[in-house]
Protein backbone atom coordinates (compact mmCIF):
# COMPACT_ATOMS: atom_id res chain seq x y z
CA UNK A 1 0.00 0.00 0.00
CA UNK A 2 1.81 3.06 -1.28
CA UNK A 3 -0.46 5.81 -0.11
CA UNK A 4 0.15 5.17 3.54
CA UNK A 5 -2.54 5.92 6.07
CA UNK A 6 -6.14 6.41 5.23
CA UNK A 7 -8.63 7.66 7.69
CA UNK A 8 -11.22 5.50 9.24
CA UNK A 9 -14.73 6.27 8.14
CA UNK A 10 -17.45 5.29 10.53
CA UNK A 11 -20.62 3.54 9.60
CA UNK A 12 -22.50 6.79 9.92
CA UNK A 13 -20.11 8.60 7.64
CA UNK A 14 -20.26 5.79 5.13
CA UNK A 15 -24.02 6.13 5.27
CA UNK A 16 -23.71 9.84 4.64
CA UNK A 17 -21.59 9.22 1.59
CA UNK A 18 -23.95 6.56 0.34
CA UNK A 19 -26.96 8.72 1.03
CA UNK A 20 -25.57 11.43 -1.18
CA UNK A 21 -25.44 9.08 -4.15
CA UNK A 22 -27.56 5.96 -3.79
CA UNK A 23 -28.77 3.48 -1.21
CA UNK A 24 -25.99 1.42 0.31
CA UNK A 25 -25.71 -2.03 -1.27
CA UNK A 26 -25.76 -5.03 1.00
CA UNK A 27 -22.27 -6.52 1.48
CA UNK A 28 -23.76 -9.94 2.34
CA UNK A 29 -25.17 -10.22 -1.15
CA UNK A 30 -21.69 -9.44 -2.43
CA UNK A 31 -20.22 -12.42 -0.58
CA UNK A 32 -21.98 -14.82 -2.96
CA UNK A 33 -20.82 -12.82 -5.94
CA UNK A 34 -17.27 -12.99 -4.63
CA UNK A 35 -17.32 -16.78 -5.07
CA UNK A 36 -16.45 -16.30 -8.72
CA UNK A 37 -13.30 -14.37 -7.69
CA UNK A 38 -12.10 -16.90 -5.14
CA UNK A 39 -10.28 -19.11 -7.60
CA UNK A 40 -7.64 -16.39 -7.86
CA UNK A 41 -8.12 -13.84 -5.01
CA UNK A 42 -8.10 -14.10 -1.24
CA UNK A 43 -9.70 -11.57 1.08
CA UNK A 44 -10.12 -11.33 4.84
CA UNK A 45 -7.83 -12.24 7.72
CA UNK A 46 -4.56 -13.77 6.59
CA UNK A 47 -5.32 -13.26 2.89
CA UNK A 48 -2.29 -13.89 0.65
CA UNK A 49 -1.40 -13.23 -2.94
CA UNK A 50 -2.31 -16.19 -5.14
CA UNK A 51 -3.01 -16.08 -8.85
CA UNK A 52 -4.21 -12.54 -8.13
CA UNK A 53 -3.21 -10.10 -5.37
CA UNK A 54 -4.87 -10.21 -1.96
CA UNK A 55 -7.79 -7.76 -1.76
CA UNK A 56 -7.75 -6.43 1.81
CA UNK A 57 -7.67 -2.62 1.99
CA UNK A 58 -8.37 -2.48 -1.71
CA UNK A 59 -10.42 0.73 -1.58
CA UNK A 60 -7.91 3.56 -1.62
CA UNK A 61 -5.06 1.38 -2.89
CA UNK A 62 -2.99 2.55 -5.83
CA UNK A 63 -3.45 0.06 -8.67
CA UNK A 64 -0.61 -2.45 -9.05
CA UNK A 65 0.90 -1.70 -5.65
CA UNK A 66 0.68 -4.84 -3.48
CA UNK A 67 4.15 -5.88 -2.36
CA UNK A 68 5.32 -9.21 -3.67
CA UNK A 69 2.77 -9.52 -6.46
CA UNK A 70 3.94 -9.54 -10.06
CA UNK A 71 1.53 -7.37 -11.97
CA UNK A 72 1.09 -7.13 -15.69
CA UNK A 73 2.90 -4.20 -17.22
CA UNK A 74 -0.38 -2.40 -18.09
CA UNK A 75 -1.64 -2.69 -14.50
CA UNK A 76 1.63 -1.46 -13.02
CA UNK A 77 1.61 1.44 -15.49
CA UNK A 78 -1.96 2.35 -14.58
CA UNK A 79 -0.93 2.68 -10.94
CA UNK A 80 2.11 4.75 -11.82
CA UNK A 81 -0.19 6.99 -13.84
CA UNK A 82 -2.33 7.62 -10.81
CA UNK A 83 -5.10 5.00 -10.86
CA UNK A 84 -6.46 4.53 -7.35
CA UNK A 85 -9.05 1.84 -6.60
CA UNK A 86 -12.24 3.44 -5.38
CA UNK A 87 -15.90 2.51 -5.67
CA UNK A 88 -16.05 4.30 -8.99
CA UNK A 89 -12.86 2.95 -10.56
CA UNK A 90 -13.61 -0.57 -9.36
CA UNK A 91 -17.06 -0.26 -10.89
CA UNK A 92 -15.61 0.66 -14.27
CA UNK A 93 -12.91 -2.01 -14.09
CA UNK A 94 -15.23 -4.82 -13.04
CA UNK A 95 -17.73 -4.06 -15.76
CA UNK A 96 -15.18 -5.01 -18.41
CA UNK A 97 -11.63 -5.53 -17.12
CA UNK A 98 -10.04 -6.04 -20.51
CA UNK A 99 -11.39 -2.83 -21.91
CA UNK A 100 -10.60 -0.76 -18.78
CA UNK A 101 -7.01 -2.04 -18.59
CA UNK A 102 -6.18 -3.76 -21.88
CA UNK A 103 -3.91 -6.78 -21.43
CA UNK A 104 -4.37 -6.99 -17.67
CA UNK A 105 -3.51 -10.49 -16.44
CA UNK A 106 -6.94 -10.70 -14.85
CA UNK A 107 -8.73 -13.19 -17.06
CA UNK A 108 -12.26 -12.35 -15.92
CA UNK A 109 -15.14 -11.60 -18.26
CA UNK A 110 -16.55 -8.89 -15.98
CA UNK A 111 -19.96 -8.31 -14.38
CA UNK A 112 -22.48 -6.62 -16.65
CA UNK A 113 -25.17 -6.01 -14.01
CA UNK A 114 -24.56 -2.67 -12.28
CA UNK A 115 -26.39 -3.72 -9.10
CA UNK A 116 -24.30 -6.87 -8.84
CA UNK A 117 -21.14 -4.81 -9.24
CA UNK A 118 -22.30 -2.48 -6.48
CA UNK A 119 -22.97 -5.43 -4.18
CA UNK A 120 -19.57 -6.94 -4.90
CA UNK A 121 -17.83 -3.61 -4.34
CA UNK A 122 -19.69 -3.15 -1.04
CA UNK A 123 -18.37 -6.58 -0.05
CA UNK A 124 -14.83 -5.63 -1.05
CA UNK A 125 -15.18 -2.33 0.83
CA UNK A 126 -16.11 -4.22 3.98
CA UNK A 127 -12.48 -5.40 4.02
CA UNK A 128 -11.24 -1.84 3.55
CA UNK A 129 -12.02 -0.39 6.96
CA UNK A 130 -9.83 2.65 6.40
CA UNK A 131 -11.15 3.62 2.98
CA UNK A 132 -11.02 7.33 2.36
CA UNK A 133 -10.86 8.64 -1.13
CA UNK A 134 -13.63 8.70 -3.67
CA UNK A 135 -12.57 8.65 -7.31
CA UNK A 136 -13.65 12.27 -7.56
CA UNK A 137 -11.07 13.15 -4.89
CA UNK A 138 -8.15 12.25 -7.14
CA UNK A 139 -5.19 14.31 -5.92
CA UNK A 140 -3.88 14.40 -9.49
CA UNK A 141 -6.72 16.77 -10.31
CA UNK A 142 -5.38 19.36 -7.87
CA UNK A 143 -2.89 22.01 -8.83
CA UNK A 144 0.48 20.63 -7.67
CA UNK A 145 1.21 24.05 -6.19
CA UNK A 146 -1.71 23.54 -3.78
CA UNK A 147 -0.45 20.14 -2.70
CA UNK A 148 3.04 21.59 -2.26
CA UNK A 149 2.00 24.26 0.27
CA UNK A 150 3.71 23.67 3.59
CA UNK A 151 1.14 24.07 6.33
CA UNK A 152 1.70 26.20 9.45
CA UNK A 153 1.02 23.80 12.32
CA UNK A 154 0.36 26.54 14.90
CA UNK A 155 -2.19 28.21 12.64
CA UNK A 156 -3.67 24.80 11.91
CA UNK A 157 -4.06 24.16 15.61
CA UNK A 158 -6.01 27.40 16.00
CA UNK A 159 -8.16 26.73 12.95
CA UNK A 160 -8.79 23.18 14.15
CA UNK A 161 -11.02 24.58 16.87
CA UNK A 162 -13.75 24.89 14.25
CA UNK A 163 -13.37 21.24 13.25
CA UNK A 164 -13.34 19.98 16.82
CA UNK A 165 -16.90 21.04 17.53
CA UNK A 166 -17.74 17.83 15.65
CA UNK A 167 -14.56 15.85 14.93
CA UNK A 168 -12.82 14.62 18.05
CA UNK A 169 -9.25 15.55 18.86
CA UNK A 170 -8.37 12.07 20.11
CA UNK A 171 -9.46 10.53 16.82
CA UNK A 172 -12.44 8.71 18.23
CA UNK A 173 -15.34 8.53 15.82
CA UNK A 174 -18.84 8.37 17.28
CA UNK A 175 -20.92 9.27 14.28
CA UNK A 176 -18.41 11.73 12.83
CA UNK A 177 -15.42 10.61 10.79
CA UNK A 178 -12.06 10.67 12.53
CA UNK A 179 -9.80 13.21 10.85
CA UNK A 180 -6.57 12.71 12.79
CA UNK A 181 -3.41 11.14 11.44
CA UNK A 182 -4.22 11.41 7.75
CA UNK A 183 -1.51 11.78 5.18
CA UNK A 184 -1.43 15.52 4.47
CA UNK A 185 -2.03 15.00 0.77
CA UNK A 186 -5.22 13.06 1.51
CA UNK A 187 -6.47 15.74 3.88
CA UNK A 188 -5.81 18.50 1.37
CA UNK A 189 -7.38 16.48 -1.43
CA UNK A 190 -10.57 15.81 0.50
CA UNK A 191 -10.92 19.38 1.73
CA UNK A 192 -10.54 20.72 -1.78
CA UNK A 193 -13.16 18.23 -2.94
CA UNK A 194 -15.56 19.94 -0.52
CA UNK A 195 -14.31 23.40 -1.42
CA UNK A 196 -14.90 22.80 -5.13
CA UNK A 197 -18.19 21.05 -4.29
CA UNK A 198 -17.34 17.74 -5.97
CA UNK A 199 -18.17 16.32 -2.54
CA UNK A 200 -21.71 17.13 -1.58
CA UNK A 201 -21.91 17.37 2.20
CA UNK A 202 -23.38 20.84 2.94
CA UNK A 203 -21.67 21.46 6.29
CA UNK A 204 -18.29 20.49 4.92
CA UNK A 205 -18.81 22.48 1.73
CA UNK A 206 -19.51 25.48 3.93
CA UNK A 207 -16.54 24.93 6.23
CA UNK A 208 -14.05 24.17 3.46
CA UNK A 209 -15.49 26.79 1.16
CA UNK A 210 -14.16 29.70 3.15
CA UNK A 211 -10.74 28.23 3.92
CA UNK A 212 -7.82 29.46 1.85
CA UNK A 213 -5.37 27.00 0.30
CA UNK A 214 -2.89 27.94 3.04
CA UNK A 215 -5.47 27.35 5.76
CA UNK A 216 -6.29 23.91 4.38
CA UNK A 217 -2.59 23.08 4.32
CA UNK A 218 -2.26 24.31 7.91
CA UNK A 219 -5.11 22.05 9.04
CA UNK A 220 -3.63 19.11 7.14
CA UNK A 221 -0.28 19.65 8.84
CA UNK A 222 -1.85 19.93 12.29
CA UNK A 223 -4.29 17.02 12.08
CA UNK A 224 -1.72 14.88 10.26
CA UNK A 225 0.47 15.12 13.35
CA UNK A 226 -2.23 13.92 15.75
CA UNK A 227 -2.37 10.24 16.54
Amino acid sequence: MIRGRFLSVTTAAATLIAAATHAEPDPDAGATLFNQCKACHQIGEGAKNRVGPQLNDLNGRVAGSVDGFRYSKPMANAGENGLVWTDETLNAFLEDPQSYIPKTKMGFRGIKDAEDRAKLIAYLDSFSPDMLLHSSDNPHDLDPAILAIKGDVAYGEYLSGECKTCHQEDGSAQGMPSITGWAEEDFVTVMHAYKNKSRTHPVMQMMAGRLSNEEIAALAAYFGGLE
Binding site: L159, G161, T165, E169, V203
Partner: protein, 423 residues
Amino acid sequence: MFKLNRRLFLGSSAAALGTLAAPAVMAAAHGKPRVVVIGGGAGGATAARYLAKDSDGAIDVTLVEPSRTYFTCFFSNLYLGGFKQMDDLGHTYGTLASDYGINVIHDWAVDVDPDGKTVTLAGGAMLGYDKLILSPGIDFVDGAVEGWSVDVQNKMPHAYKAGSQTELLKSQIMAMPEGGTFAMVAPPNPYRCPPGPYERISMVAHALKANNPTAKIIVADPKPKFSKQGLFQEGWNKHYAGMVDWIGEDFGGGNVSVDADAMTVTIDGEETKVDVCNVIPAMKAGRIADMAGVTDGNWAPVNAADLSSKANADIHVLGDSAQQGDMPKSGFSANSQAKVCANAVRGALTGSTVFPAKFSNTCWSLIAENDGVKVGATYEATPEKIASQGGFISQTGEDSATRKATYEESEGWYSGIVADMFG
Protein backbone atom coordinates in the same frame (compact mmCIF):
# COMPACT_ATOMS: atom_id res chain seq x y z
CA MET B 1 7.13 32.05 16.70
CA PHE B 2 4.65 32.44 19.50
CA LYS B 3 6.45 29.75 21.46
CA LEU B 4 9.61 31.80 21.45
CA ASN B 5 7.69 34.81 22.71
CA ARG B 6 6.09 32.82 25.43
CA ARG B 7 9.33 31.28 26.61
CA LEU B 8 10.97 34.68 26.70
CA PHE B 9 8.05 36.04 28.64
CA LEU B 10 8.08 33.29 31.20
CA GLY B 11 11.78 33.55 31.78
CA SER B 12 12.15 37.30 31.68
CA SER B 13 11.77 40.12 34.08
CA ALA B 14 9.09 42.72 33.57
CA ALA B 15 11.74 45.17 32.46
CA ALA B 16 12.97 42.91 29.68
CA LEU B 17 9.41 42.50 28.53
CA GLY B 18 9.25 46.13 27.61
CA THR B 19 11.52 45.43 24.66
CA LEU B 20 9.21 42.81 23.19
CA ALA B 21 6.52 43.71 20.73
CA ALA B 22 4.08 41.70 22.78
CA PRO B 23 0.88 43.21 24.12
CA ALA B 24 0.84 44.52 27.66
CA VAL B 25 1.11 41.60 30.00
CA MET B 26 -0.77 41.56 33.24
CA ALA B 27 0.86 39.12 35.57
CA ALA B 28 -0.65 38.55 38.97
CA ALA B 29 1.38 38.69 42.15
CA HIS B 30 1.94 34.96 42.05
CA GLY B 31 3.38 35.24 38.57
CA LYS B 32 0.60 33.86 36.44
CA PRO B 33 -2.17 35.83 34.79
CA ARG B 34 -5.58 34.80 36.09
CA VAL B 35 -8.72 34.17 34.08
CA VAL B 36 -12.05 33.57 35.78
CA VAL B 37 -14.77 31.97 33.66
CA ILE B 38 -18.34 32.16 34.93
CA GLY B 39 -20.66 29.51 33.53
CA GLY B 40 -19.70 25.96 32.59
CA GLY B 41 -21.76 25.43 29.46
CA ALA B 42 -20.87 25.39 25.79
CA GLY B 43 -19.18 28.80 26.00
CA GLY B 44 -17.55 28.75 29.42
CA ALA B 45 -16.36 25.15 29.60
CA THR B 46 -14.88 25.42 26.10
CA ALA B 47 -13.15 28.72 26.85
CA ALA B 48 -11.69 27.37 30.10
CA ARG B 49 -10.48 24.20 28.41
CA TYR B 50 -8.85 25.96 25.47
CA LEU B 51 -7.18 28.54 27.69
CA ALA B 52 -5.75 25.88 29.97
CA LYS B 53 -4.81 23.50 27.16
CA ASP B 54 -3.21 26.03 24.85
CA SER B 55 -1.37 28.00 27.53
CA ASP B 56 0.28 24.87 28.96
CA GLY B 57 -0.20 26.11 32.49
CA ALA B 58 0.93 29.68 31.84
CA ILE B 59 -2.54 30.96 32.71
CA ASP B 60 -4.34 30.27 35.97
CA VAL B 61 -7.88 29.30 34.92
CA THR B 62 -10.83 29.18 37.32
CA LEU B 63 -14.25 27.97 36.19
CA VAL B 64 -17.27 28.90 38.32
CA GLU B 65 -20.34 26.75 37.69
CA PRO B 66 -23.08 26.00 40.23
CA SER B 67 -23.96 22.53 38.90
CA ARG B 68 -21.78 19.52 39.56
CA THR B 69 -23.54 17.73 36.73
CA TYR B 70 -24.31 19.89 33.73
CA PHE B 71 -27.24 18.85 31.55
CA THR B 72 -26.98 20.13 28.01
CA CYS B 73 -29.96 22.08 26.76
CA PHE B 74 -29.12 20.85 23.28
CA PHE B 75 -30.59 17.36 22.78
CA SER B 76 -32.91 17.83 25.79
CA ASN B 77 -35.88 17.86 23.41
CA LEU B 78 -34.79 14.37 22.35
CA TYR B 79 -35.25 13.33 25.96
CA LEU B 80 -38.85 14.61 25.75
CA GLY B 81 -39.31 12.56 22.60
CA GLY B 82 -37.88 9.43 24.20
CA PHE B 83 -34.75 9.28 22.05
CA LYS B 84 -32.31 10.11 24.86
CA GLN B 85 -32.11 9.39 28.56
CA MET B 86 -31.43 12.19 31.03
CA ASP B 87 -28.12 10.52 31.87
CA ASP B 88 -27.05 10.88 28.23
CA LEU B 89 -27.24 14.66 28.64
CA GLY B 90 -25.34 14.94 31.94
CA HIS B 91 -21.64 15.84 32.06
CA THR B 92 -19.24 16.54 34.90
CA TYR B 93 -16.14 18.67 35.27
CA GLY B 94 -13.69 16.09 36.61
CA THR B 95 -11.56 15.93 33.47
CA LEU B 96 -11.28 19.70 33.22
CA ALA B 97 -9.93 19.74 36.77
CA SER B 98 -7.69 16.66 36.65
CA ASP B 99 -6.34 16.72 33.09
CA TYR B 100 -6.33 20.44 32.37
CA GLY B 101 -5.53 21.87 35.77
CA ILE B 102 -8.61 24.09 35.80
CA ASN B 103 -9.72 25.25 39.23
CA VAL B 104 -13.39 24.24 39.06
CA ILE B 105 -15.56 25.88 41.74
CA HIS B 106 -19.17 24.76 42.15
CA ASP B 107 -20.79 27.91 43.44
CA TRP B 108 -22.87 30.84 42.25
CA ALA B 109 -21.11 34.02 41.21
CA VAL B 110 -23.17 36.73 42.89
CA ASP B 111 -21.22 39.89 42.17
CA VAL B 112 -18.52 41.37 39.99
CA ASP B 113 -16.43 44.41 40.84
CA PRO B 114 -15.09 45.55 37.47
CA ASP B 115 -12.86 48.21 39.05
CA GLY B 116 -11.27 45.98 41.66
CA LYS B 117 -11.40 43.09 39.17
CA THR B 118 -12.92 40.63 41.59
CA VAL B 119 -15.77 38.13 41.50
CA THR B 120 -17.72 37.35 44.66
CA LEU B 121 -19.18 33.88 45.15
CA ALA B 122 -22.31 32.98 47.10
CA GLY B 123 -20.11 31.05 49.52
CA GLY B 124 -18.29 34.30 50.32
CA ALA B 125 -15.02 33.73 48.47
CA MET B 126 -13.57 36.48 46.29
CA LEU B 127 -11.66 35.70 43.12
CA GLY B 128 -9.30 38.18 41.52
CA TYR B 129 -8.93 38.19 37.76
CA ASP B 130 -6.94 39.76 34.98
CA LYS B 131 -9.57 38.74 32.42
CA LEU B 132 -13.13 37.72 33.17
CA ILE B 133 -15.15 35.58 30.78
CA LEU B 134 -18.91 35.54 31.30
CA SER B 135 -20.91 32.76 29.75
CA PRO B 136 -23.96 32.62 31.99
CA GLY B 137 -26.57 31.62 29.42
CA ILE B 138 -30.03 33.06 29.73
CA ASP B 139 -32.44 34.42 32.29
CA PHE B 140 -36.10 35.26 31.69
CA VAL B 141 -37.57 38.72 31.28
CA ASP B 142 -39.88 39.46 34.21
CA GLY B 143 -43.50 39.88 33.19
CA ALA B 144 -42.88 38.72 29.63
CA VAL B 145 -45.95 36.47 29.66
CA GLU B 146 -48.91 37.79 31.62
CA GLY B 147 -49.69 35.44 34.49
CA TRP B 148 -46.33 33.65 34.38
CA SER B 149 -43.29 34.09 36.61
CA VAL B 150 -40.59 31.76 37.85
CA ASP B 151 -42.78 31.28 40.94
CA VAL B 152 -45.14 29.15 38.87
CA GLN B 153 -42.47 27.31 36.88
CA ASN B 154 -43.36 24.02 38.53
CA LYS B 155 -46.95 24.29 37.29
CA MET B 156 -46.01 25.70 33.91
CA PRO B 157 -42.41 24.69 33.23
CA HIS B 158 -40.15 26.56 30.85
CA ALA B 159 -37.77 23.60 30.48
CA TYR B 160 -35.43 25.98 28.72
CA LYS B 161 -32.57 25.31 31.12
CA ALA B 162 -32.06 21.57 31.00
CA GLY B 163 -32.33 19.36 34.06
CA SER B 164 -35.14 19.11 36.58
CA GLN B 165 -37.38 21.42 34.51
CA THR B 166 -37.02 19.10 31.52
CA GLU B 167 -37.87 16.07 33.65
CA LEU B 168 -40.87 17.86 35.08
CA LEU B 169 -42.20 18.77 31.64
CA LYS B 170 -41.80 15.18 30.45
CA SER B 171 -43.61 13.77 33.45
CA GLN B 172 -46.47 16.22 32.83
CA ILE B 173 -46.67 15.18 29.17
CA MET B 174 -46.76 11.50 30.07
CA ALA B 175 -49.51 12.16 32.65
CA MET B 176 -51.78 14.01 30.21
CA PRO B 177 -55.32 12.62 30.03
CA GLU B 178 -56.37 10.89 26.84
CA GLY B 179 -57.13 13.49 24.20
CA GLY B 180 -55.71 16.26 26.40
CA THR B 181 -54.10 19.52 25.33
CA PHE B 182 -50.45 20.54 25.42
CA ALA B 183 -49.87 24.27 25.05
CA MET B 184 -46.65 26.11 24.36
CA VAL B 185 -46.08 29.82 24.67
CA ALA B 186 -43.18 30.43 22.29
CA PRO B 187 -40.68 33.24 22.89
CA PRO B 188 -40.04 36.42 20.88
CA ASN B 189 -36.70 36.97 19.16
CA PRO B 190 -33.90 36.83 20.08
CA TYR B 191 -33.77 33.73 22.22
CA ARG B 192 -31.68 30.64 22.89
CA CYS B 193 -31.81 27.97 20.17
CA PRO B 194 -34.08 29.38 17.43
CA PRO B 195 -35.36 25.96 16.24
CA GLY B 196 -35.64 24.70 19.83
CA PRO B 197 -39.34 25.38 20.51
CA TYR B 198 -40.30 23.76 17.20
CA GLU B 199 -38.10 20.73 17.68
CA ARG B 200 -39.79 20.48 21.07
CA ILE B 201 -43.23 20.54 19.45
CA SER B 202 -42.05 17.74 17.17
CA MET B 203 -40.74 15.67 20.05
CA VAL B 204 -43.84 16.22 22.19
CA ALA B 205 -45.96 15.20 19.20
CA HIS B 206 -43.83 12.10 18.78
CA ALA B 207 -44.31 11.12 22.42
CA LEU B 208 -48.04 11.82 22.29
CA LYS B 209 -48.55 9.98 19.01
CA ALA B 210 -47.24 6.83 20.67
CA ASN B 211 -49.01 7.24 24.02
CA ASN B 212 -51.94 9.56 23.52
CA PRO B 213 -52.67 9.89 19.81
CA THR B 214 -55.85 11.96 20.18
CA ALA B 215 -54.04 14.66 22.19
CA LYS B 216 -53.69 18.17 20.73
CA ILE B 217 -50.85 20.66 20.69
CA ILE B 218 -51.40 24.41 20.49
CA VAL B 219 -48.60 26.92 20.10
CA ALA B 220 -49.04 30.63 20.80
CA ASP B 221 -46.23 32.39 19.01
CA PRO B 222 -45.51 36.14 19.00
CA LYS B 223 -43.47 35.73 15.80
CA PRO B 224 -44.81 35.78 12.25
CA LYS B 225 -42.37 33.05 11.23
CA PHE B 226 -39.73 30.84 12.80
CA SER B 227 -36.51 28.95 12.17
CA LYS B 228 -36.77 26.05 9.69
CA GLN B 229 -40.51 26.74 9.47
CA GLY B 230 -41.03 25.03 6.12
CA LEU B 231 -39.16 21.95 7.28
CA PHE B 232 -41.03 21.70 10.57
CA GLN B 233 -44.46 22.29 9.08
CA GLU B 234 -43.80 19.73 6.35
CA GLY B 235 -42.73 17.28 9.06
CA TRP B 236 -45.75 17.98 11.28
CA ASN B 237 -48.11 17.36 8.36
CA LYS B 238 -46.28 14.19 7.47
CA HIS B 239 -45.85 12.64 10.91
CA TYR B 240 -48.41 14.32 13.15
CA ALA B 241 -51.24 15.34 10.82
CA GLY B 242 -53.94 17.36 12.54
CA MET B 243 -52.19 17.37 15.88
CA VAL B 244 -50.35 20.70 15.90
CA ASP B 245 -52.12 24.07 15.82
CA TRP B 246 -49.53 26.84 15.44
CA ILE B 247 -50.95 30.30 16.10
CA GLY B 248 -48.54 32.92 14.83
CA GLU B 249 -48.52 36.68 15.20
CA ASP B 250 -51.10 37.16 12.44
CA PHE B 251 -53.69 35.24 14.47
CA GLY B 252 -52.93 36.86 17.81
CA GLY B 253 -50.25 34.42 18.98
CA GLY B 254 -48.45 37.29 20.67
CA ASN B 255 -51.49 38.36 22.66
CA VAL B 256 -51.31 35.69 25.33
CA SER B 257 -51.80 35.27 29.04
CA VAL B 258 -51.79 32.24 31.30
CA ASP B 259 -53.35 31.28 34.62
CA ALA B 260 -51.26 28.65 36.37
CA ASP B 261 -53.87 27.83 39.02
CA ALA B 262 -56.72 27.43 36.58
CA MET B 263 -54.39 25.87 33.96
CA THR B 264 -55.75 28.07 31.22
CA VAL B 265 -54.13 29.84 28.30
CA THR B 266 -55.82 32.85 26.72
CA ILE B 267 -54.79 33.56 23.15
CA ASP B 268 -56.16 36.73 21.53
CA GLY B 269 -59.06 36.74 23.98
CA GLU B 270 -59.95 33.07 23.64
CA GLU B 271 -59.43 31.04 26.80
CA THR B 272 -58.49 27.37 26.57
CA LYS B 273 -58.22 24.85 29.40
CA VAL B 274 -54.99 22.93 28.96
CA ASP B 275 -53.32 19.95 30.62
CA VAL B 276 -49.71 20.97 30.15
CA CYS B 277 -48.46 24.49 29.55
CA ASN B 278 -44.86 25.01 28.52
CA VAL B 279 -44.13 28.73 28.84
CA ILE B 280 -40.91 29.82 27.17
CA PRO B 281 -40.71 33.51 28.10
CA ALA B 282 -38.70 36.28 26.51
CA MET B 283 -35.05 36.00 27.44
CA LYS B 284 -32.16 38.16 28.54
CA ALA B 285 -28.53 37.74 29.48
CA GLY B 286 -27.74 35.75 32.60
CA ARG B 287 -28.02 37.97 35.67
CA ILE B 288 -24.30 38.12 36.42
CA ALA B 289 -23.80 40.07 33.18
CA ASP B 290 -26.00 42.81 34.64
CA MET B 291 -23.99 42.80 37.85
CA ALA B 292 -20.77 43.12 35.91
CA GLY B 293 -22.18 46.20 34.23
CA VAL B 294 -21.79 44.92 30.69
CA THR B 295 -25.44 44.78 29.58
CA ASP B 296 -27.30 47.35 27.53
CA GLY B 297 -30.95 46.44 27.71
CA ASN B 298 -31.43 42.68 27.77
CA TRP B 299 -28.07 41.63 26.33
CA ALA B 300 -24.36 42.32 26.58
CA PRO B 301 -22.93 44.04 23.49
CA VAL B 302 -19.51 42.67 22.49
CA ASN B 303 -16.81 43.33 19.94
CA ALA B 304 -16.79 40.75 17.18
CA ALA B 305 -13.06 40.10 17.01
CA ASP B 306 -12.60 38.80 20.55
CA LEU B 307 -16.02 38.84 22.26
CA SER B 308 -14.81 41.57 24.62
CA SER B 309 -17.53 43.66 26.19
CA LYS B 310 -18.13 47.04 24.61
CA ALA B 311 -18.36 48.37 28.18
CA ASN B 312 -15.19 46.82 29.63
CA ALA B 313 -12.13 45.55 27.75
CA ASP B 314 -11.22 43.04 30.47
CA ILE B 315 -14.60 41.32 30.45
CA HIS B 316 -15.61 39.00 27.62
CA VAL B 317 -19.13 37.69 27.11
CA LEU B 318 -19.87 34.46 25.24
CA GLY B 319 -22.87 32.61 23.94
CA ASP B 320 -26.50 33.36 24.67
CA SER B 321 -25.80 36.47 26.76
CA ALA B 322 -23.75 38.21 24.11
CA GLN B 323 -25.21 40.65 21.63
CA GLN B 324 -22.73 40.00 18.86
CA GLY B 325 -24.56 40.35 15.55
CA ASP B 326 -25.75 37.61 13.26
CA MET B 327 -24.99 34.37 15.09
CA PRO B 328 -27.96 32.53 16.57
CA LYS B 329 -27.88 31.85 20.29
CA SER B 330 -26.88 28.20 20.30
CA GLY B 331 -24.47 25.84 22.01
CA PHE B 332 -22.56 25.50 18.76
CA SER B 333 -22.23 29.29 18.49
CA ALA B 334 -21.09 29.62 22.10
CA ASN B 335 -18.48 26.90 21.55
CA SER B 336 -17.29 28.64 18.38
CA GLN B 337 -17.09 32.05 20.08
CA ALA B 338 -15.27 30.52 23.06
CA LYS B 339 -12.37 29.37 20.92
CA VAL B 340 -11.96 32.77 19.28
CA CYS B 341 -12.17 34.43 22.69
CA ALA B 342 -9.70 32.01 24.31
CA ASN B 343 -7.20 32.66 21.54
CA ALA B 344 -7.51 36.42 22.00
CA VAL B 345 -7.36 36.32 25.81
CA ARG B 346 -4.32 34.06 25.75
CA GLY B 347 -2.65 36.43 23.32
CA ALA B 348 -3.38 39.41 25.54
CA LEU B 349 -2.06 37.69 28.64
CA THR B 350 0.95 35.77 27.31
CA GLY B 351 1.83 37.42 24.01
CA SER B 352 0.93 34.34 21.96
CA THR B 353 -0.14 34.87 18.37
CA VAL B 354 -3.72 36.03 17.97
CA PHE B 355 -5.17 34.57 14.80
CA PRO B 356 -8.11 36.12 12.95
CA ALA B 357 -11.58 35.26 14.22
CA LYS B 358 -13.62 32.65 12.37
CA PHE B 359 -17.02 31.53 13.56
CA SER B 360 -19.49 28.88 12.50
CA ASN B 361 -22.75 27.36 13.59
CA THR B 362 -24.92 24.42 12.67
CA CYS B 363 -28.21 23.56 14.37
CA TRP B 364 -29.62 20.07 13.89
CA SER B 365 -33.24 19.34 14.80
CA LEU B 366 -35.11 16.07 15.01
CA ILE B 367 -38.68 16.09 13.66
CA ALA B 368 -39.47 12.38 14.03
CA GLU B 369 -37.48 9.17 14.32
CA ASN B 370 -34.61 9.34 11.81
CA ASP B 371 -36.00 12.55 10.34
CA GLY B 372 -33.27 15.08 11.06
CA VAL B 373 -32.80 18.52 9.50
CA LYS B 374 -30.12 21.15 9.86
CA VAL B 375 -29.28 24.77 9.20
CA GLY B 376 -25.87 26.36 9.40
CA ALA B 377 -23.70 29.31 8.46
CA THR B 378 -20.21 30.72 8.80
CA TYR B 379 -19.43 34.13 10.19
CA GLU B 380 -16.63 36.67 10.29
CA ALA B 381 -15.71 39.55 12.57
CA THR B 382 -16.37 43.00 11.14
CA PRO B 383 -15.89 46.27 13.03
CA GLU B 384 -19.66 46.43 13.60
CA LYS B 385 -20.60 42.85 14.43
CA ILE B 386 -20.18 39.14 13.84
CA ALA B 387 -21.47 39.02 10.28
CA SER B 388 -22.89 36.08 8.36
CA GLN B 389 -20.94 34.89 5.34
CA GLY B 390 -23.75 32.64 4.13
CA GLY B 391 -24.89 29.14 4.93
CA PHE B 392 -27.16 26.28 4.03
CA ILE B 393 -30.40 24.65 5.15
CA SER B 394 -31.93 21.21 4.67
CA GLN B 395 -34.47 21.07 1.87
CA THR B 396 -38.12 20.12 2.06
CA GLY B 397 -38.86 16.84 0.33
CA GLU B 398 -35.47 15.26 1.06
CA ASP B 399 -35.34 11.46 0.93
CA SER B 400 -35.42 9.41 4.11
CA ALA B 401 -31.80 8.27 3.76
CA THR B 402 -30.62 11.90 3.81
CA ARG B 403 -32.77 12.68 6.84
CA LYS B 404 -31.51 9.61 8.68
CA ALA B 405 -27.92 10.54 7.86
CA THR B 406 -28.57 14.07 9.15
CA TYR B 407 -29.83 12.68 12.43
CA GLU B 408 -26.85 10.35 12.77
CA GLU B 409 -24.60 13.29 12.03
CA SER B 410 -26.23 15.24 14.85
CA GLU B 411 -25.37 12.44 17.23
CA GLY B 412 -21.78 12.62 16.07
CA TRP B 413 -21.80 16.36 16.62
CA TYR B 414 -23.15 15.87 20.14
CA SER B 415 -20.31 13.50 21.00
CA GLY B 416 -17.85 15.92 19.45
CA ILE B 417 -19.00 19.09 21.16
CA VAL B 418 -19.23 17.59 24.63
CA ALA B 419 -15.70 16.21 24.18
CA ASP B 420 -14.64 19.70 23.11
CA MET B 421 -16.32 21.22 26.18
CA PHE B 422 -15.49 18.77 28.93
CA GLY B 423 -12.34 17.04 27.61
